[in-house]
């Protein structure tokens, strides 16, 4: 059992969680000790005063004004989100330009070279495919594989356009040989 003058004891007494025996000890102590009795009475008086406190009246249109403030805050957040996104994009563009700006001509030259070599490789593969088909092995897995590779990975200008270019170049080469002879 604790000391009747300790905070723990008083907290339990106020919460009403003293055991039966403790409660008896407490009541006896209150009869004997004037200081505790007065303090206990003062605490009880305080509870009476605070529990009887009238509820403060809500200001007029409190809810409406609050909802208006919420809507205003939501609008302001939307505007800031849009403004923030634009600012971020702009900043990213500036950073990219500063970082890669001087290398821009080199990058475009490299891109052009890659494009041309892709074109050349595609034409070669198409020629092989045409020859394989012409050799009568139309449905061999090799022919299909090459055709699929051409179609999916190396098609720079679309299938028909590329076929047309290949045919045209073949015709031009034949004409050139004819003229030469």
């Amino acid at each position: 059992m604790w000391d009747v003058h300790s905070d723990e004891w008083w907290m339990h007494a106020l919460e009403g969680t003293l055991t039966g025996e403790e409660q008896r000890v407490w009541e006896l102590h209150l009869c004997e000790c004037t200081a505790c009795r007065e303090e206990w009475a003062a605490l009880a008086q305080l509870d009476l005063v605070l529990n009887a406190a009238p509820e403060p009246p809500l200001p007029v249109n409190f809810a409406q004004n609050t909802i208006a403030k919420v809507l205003h805050a939501q609008r302001r957040r939307r505007v800031w989100t849009i403004f923030g996104s634009i600012a971020t994009l702009f900043l990213a563009a500036v950073i990219l330009l500063v970082a890669f700006g001087p290398a821009l001509p080199e990058i475009s030259r490299a891109a052009a070279a890659i494009n041309v070599s892709r074109d050349v490789l595609f034409q070669a593969l198409m020629r092989i495919a045409v020859q394989v088909i012409a050799a009568g092995k139309m449905f061999t897995p090799v022919a299909l594989g090459v055709a699929a590779a051409c179609f999916f990975f190396l098609m720079p200008n679309g299938v028909l356009a590329t076929l047309a270019i290949v045919m045209m170049r073949k015709k031009q080469a034949a004409q050139y040989i004819e003229v030469q002879s």
Partner: protein, 198 residues
């Protein structure tokens, strides 16, 4: 039910936002009023708290009680306001704020109104002796019906810290009340049998 409302408000549903404001306006305003001591400051703080709560619903853990969460926001805003106040300006010195002005056509009589006003002034004087944190704990305990656990959640304190701070605050206020009554009324505190909190 409340969770649905919170989730809908989180998605910007205006009906749900209105419902949340209407459900918690009294609690939030009541806490701000008791902490700040006047209606004008309390109105501003309570509105700020509700707006802040709704705009930050994404940080609320759905499934936990909403009231301690929203009261925590309100108590923090009131604490900031109290700290910004000049120390010489006490709640008592601020005088009456008009919240308890009786108006013709009101539900209660002018006498009852007068009594409310006096009681309110007495409570203000008592709370004025406490620091912001203790004031929020006392307010949540007496007028918001929060459990010790919920007060601990709302104040970021441990359960034992809440209990011990509340006890010391009650003791200080009781002493203050005794002095108040001895000085103003000139009569001794009436002995009343203590009835523990149900």
């Amino acid at each position: 039910m409340e969770e649905d409302c919170i989730l809908a408000a989180l998605n910007g549903d205006q009906q749900a936002i209105t419902e949340l404001v209407q459900t918690y306006q009294r609690s939030v305003f009541g806490l701000c009023y008791r902490m700040l001591g006047n209606s004008t400051d309390a109105e501003e703080a309570a509105q700020d708290a509700l707006v802040k709560a709704i705009m930050n619903l994404q940080t609320f853990e759905v499934g936990r009680p909403f009231k301690p969460w929203v009261l925590r926001i309100a108590a923090n805003l009131c604490t900031d306001r109290l700290r910004r106040r000049k120390p010489v300006v006490s709640l008592d010195a601020m005088g009456d704020d008009g919240a308890w002005e009786w108006q013709a056509g009101a539900d209660i009589s002018p006498e009852a109104h007068m009594e409310h006003r006096e009681r309110n002034q007495q409570i203000r004087d008592l709370l004025d002796t406490l620091g912001p944190l203790d004031r929020s704990i006392v307010t949540m305990f007496y007028w918001q019906d929060l459990s010790y656990e919920e007060i601990a959640q709302a104040t970021d304190l441990t359960l034992s810290a809440v209990k011990s701070r509340l006890f010391r605050a009650r003791r200080a206020m009781a002493e203050n009340l005794r002095q108040q009554q001895e000085h103003t009324v000139g009569m001794e505190v009436k002995e009343v049998t203590y009835v523990g909190r149900a």
